[in-house]
């Protein structure tokens, strides 16, 4: 699993972490009913950072990144994305969502639209881009994820890996400044994981700010500049990948790493 991404020689020339804050989360708490799912989350993400969040299932990592574009509502603390604070103000939510792209575990392509229509829908209806221009942008990004020949097919005709690459292209068509990945390879066959990871790596090489919830530790070692480990709704440990994997500090992290890397 880990090797999939490692055989790739990575061009680090444009992977630069700046000192400009992209996302600032402070004192954030979230409950599902009475269940305290996220506890006192504090983190800041700089522009150009590539962060991998890992942790056991139910640790709140998906919920955390879904709070960043308000698919989930937080109840306490503040989340500021690119200078816009997320509150119940719909205008702010719309601003943030148009800046932040998201890729889901189950792709969530629109099955009643062709690939091209999937890609052009939001630019046309949200950004008011003329159709011709939107088509050109869509083809450019399909080219980038290496499936331009599928443009006029429907999502149901594509393999899982292709669908996920379309989903990435669909987010990119909105020209986001930040990309969120919610377990993008968990629903894929092993043969298809690599093609999706390659797409994500090339995105990282272009300097995109990325937050990925994933268990692909090879990907984390290759492109992440920071790995965050979560358990029971809290950030337990975070470090640069080399330190994180070779020299984990907390016992919980050690246990987790021994379980996913040990076999």
């Amino acid at each position: 699993m880990a090797e999939a991404a490692l055989d790739h020689t990575i061009d680090r020339s444009r992977m630069k972490v700046t000192d400009e804050v992209a996302i600032q989360i402070s004192g954030m708490n979230k409950w599902y009913g009475t269940f305290h799912v996220l506890r006192d989350i504090n983190m800041s993400v700089m522009k150009g950072e590539r962060i991998v969040i890992c942790g056991p299932s139910g640790s709140g990592k998906s919920t955390l990144i879904r709070c960043i574009n308000r698919l989930e509502e937080h109840q306490q603390g503040t989340i500021i994305v690119d200078g816009t604070e997320l509150t119940s103000d719909l205008k702010n939510i719309d601003i943030v969502r148009s800046e932040v792209g998201m890729v889901f575990q189950h792709f969530n392509l629109f099955p009643h639209l062709t690939i091209l229509e999937n890609l052009t829908l939001a630019p046309i209806w949200v950004r008011k881009v003329p159709k011709k221009e939107a088509d050109e942008t869509a083809m450019y990004f399909l080219q980038k994820v290496k499936i331009p020949e599928q443009a006029h097919k429907y999502p149901g005709q594509l393999s899982g890996g292709q669908q996920q690459r379309v989903a990435i292209a669909r987010s990119l068509c909105m020209k986001p400044r930040i990309m969120l990945f919610d377990e993008p390879t968990s629903a894929l066959d092993p043969e298809m994981i690599k093609e999706v990871l390659d797409t994500m790596i090339s995105l990282a090489e272009e300097g995109m700010t990325m937050i990925c919830v994933t268990h692909e530790m090879g990907f984390a070692q290759a492109v992440a500049n920071r790995v965050i480990f979560m358990d029971q709704g809290q950030i337990v440990e975070q470090n640069a990948p080399r330190e994180f994997f070779n020299n984990p500090k907390s016992d919980r992290t050690k246990l987790f790493l021994s379980q996913i890397l040990g076999h």
Binding site: D94, F104, L109, A122, G156
Partner: protein
């Protein structure tokens, strides 16, 4: 022990299936004669088909299309085929079909409902088929007003002024929503209602006195037969779909008052038989309206039928909405689409596609239920059939008339059913 290693040296090409698995012989064997039990059933079915054909065939063969009364029919059949033979007497349909189709509409004005039907087919074109030019949609939007004017007659300015109410509502929305979004919606609702209540009638009177254009005015008592069923049925179908969709969305809303209203509306009207609603329409509604208002009985029935069908459609559409994975909403949200755009572009196209069989089923039911209006003394086709049979010339005839009415309904309902299947095939993009 056998050696476990094995390496395939060449891959096998695909082959066509053996001849015994394809072709007509295989089909007959598999579907008609696959076992002793099935052979017996096949033979029994053939015998039953033979019996039915042997009874109906000669009856249809001996049919008479030209006669003045049932006695005359029987005399012709006896003269042609010998005494004691019976045959179909379709002469009654040849003589009375206009009455069954048009009710009491004056004969010299039959062109008006006929023209309305033709225009309706044109108006339906762009809604039902993607290859019809989109510009025709403008005609489709104005068609209800055109149909109203053609069927009921009177001054042309009344329907024009009613349409003007919608235009005013739109203008009010554009102007006021510049200042405040919510006020815009309120203005869009209040301005047209005020217009229709107080200014619409006088304005059309004034225009009529300036430029008189009018067709002969007909009362609702002159509507009957299949024309009546179609007017009520099609209006019910056209108006209940959008209302039903809004009710389904309202029922899922987070806004407590909207949600409560929709739930009460749906459960209330679904829990009551249509016939009681029709009695309310014909008898009770007048008590609630200001004295002196005359409110056309067909219009009242259309409102009730629409409300009734909308409640059913709402539940069918809700089923379609529930079948969509949450990920579709999340993907739409994460791309920055607002609620109405997400509904229009992502959610509804899929939810409605899933609901097509249920929606069309409701429409077919609604269309057939229009025959219930005979209970509030409107003349639906069955009522007209009864009055024809009460006639001395045609006393004692029944099969032929019922077959004709049944055929008319069947043509409509079967077309709807076929269209829904065509639509399902056309919209099938999941390739499962």
């Amino acid at each position: 022990m056998e050696d476990a290693s094995y390496v395939r040296s060449e891959m096998l090409p695909a082959q066509s299936p053996p001849a015994s698995e394809t072709g007509i012989v295989h089909w007959v064997r598999a579907n008609l004669l696959s076992s002793v039990g099935n052979i017996v059933l096949t033979l029994a079915a053939i015998y039953v088909i033979y019996l039915i054909a042997a009874t109906i065939g000669p009856w249809l063969y001996r049919s008479v299309w030209n006669a003045g009364s049932l006695q005359e029919c029987r005399a012709i059949i006896e003269a042609n085929f010998g005494p004691g033979k019976s045959g179909a007497c379709f002469a009654v349909i040849a003589q009375r079909w206009e009455q069954i189709v048009f009710g009491f509409y004056p004969r010299e004005l039959y062109w008006r409902p006929t023209l309305t039907l033709v225009l309706m087919l044109v108006a339906l074109g762009p809604i039902l088929f993607a290859w019809v030019p989109r510009q025709v949609l403008w005609f489709s939007i104005t068609f209800p007003a055109v149909a109203f004017w053609l069927l009921w007659g009177g001054t042309v300015w009344l329907p024009v002024m009613i349409v003007a109410g919608f235009v005013l509502g739109y203008v009010a929305f554009r102007v006021v929503s510049e200042l405040n979004g919510l006020a815009g919606v309120v203005a869009a609702a209040v301005v047209p209602v005020l217009w229709w209540l107080f200014l619409c009638g006088p304005a059309s009177d004034v225009l009529q006195s300036i430029l008189p254009i009018a067709l002969r005015e007909l009362g609702s008592d002159q509507f009957g037969g299949f024309l009546l069923s179609t007017v009520i049925g099609i209006s019910g179908i056209v108006f209940s779909l959008p209302i039903g969709i809004l009710l389904a969305l309202g029922r899922q809303s987070d806004l407590l008052i909207v949600k409560t209203f929709c739930v009460c509306f749906i459960e209330g009207f679904r829990g009551v038989p249509l016939i009681t609603l029709l009695f309310v329409a014909s008898l009770l509604l007048n008590y609630f309206l200001p004295p002196g208002t005359t409110f056309d009985v067909i219009l009242r029935v259309i409102i009730m039928v629409t409300i009734f069908a909308a409640a059913y459609i709402a539940e069918v559409v809700r089923g379609g909405l529930a079948a969509l994975p949450r990920g579709q909403y999340e993907a739409a949200d994460s791309l920055g689409l607002d609620y109405w755009k997400a509904q229009r572009l992502i959610i509804m196209p899929q939810a409605l596609k899933i609901s097509i069989p249920g929606i069309v089923g409701t429409f077919i039911g609604l269309f057939k239920d229009t025959t219930l209006v005979s209970f509030i003394s409107l003349s639906d086709p069955m009522q007209i059939v009864s009055s024809i049979r009460a006639n001395t010339e045609w006393n004692g005839i029944y099969w032929e008339l019922f077959m004709f009415v049944g055929l008319l309904f069947f043509i409509f309902c079967f077309s709807m059913s076929r269209y829904s299947m065509y639509l399902e095939r056309k919209l099938k993009t999941d390739h499962r």
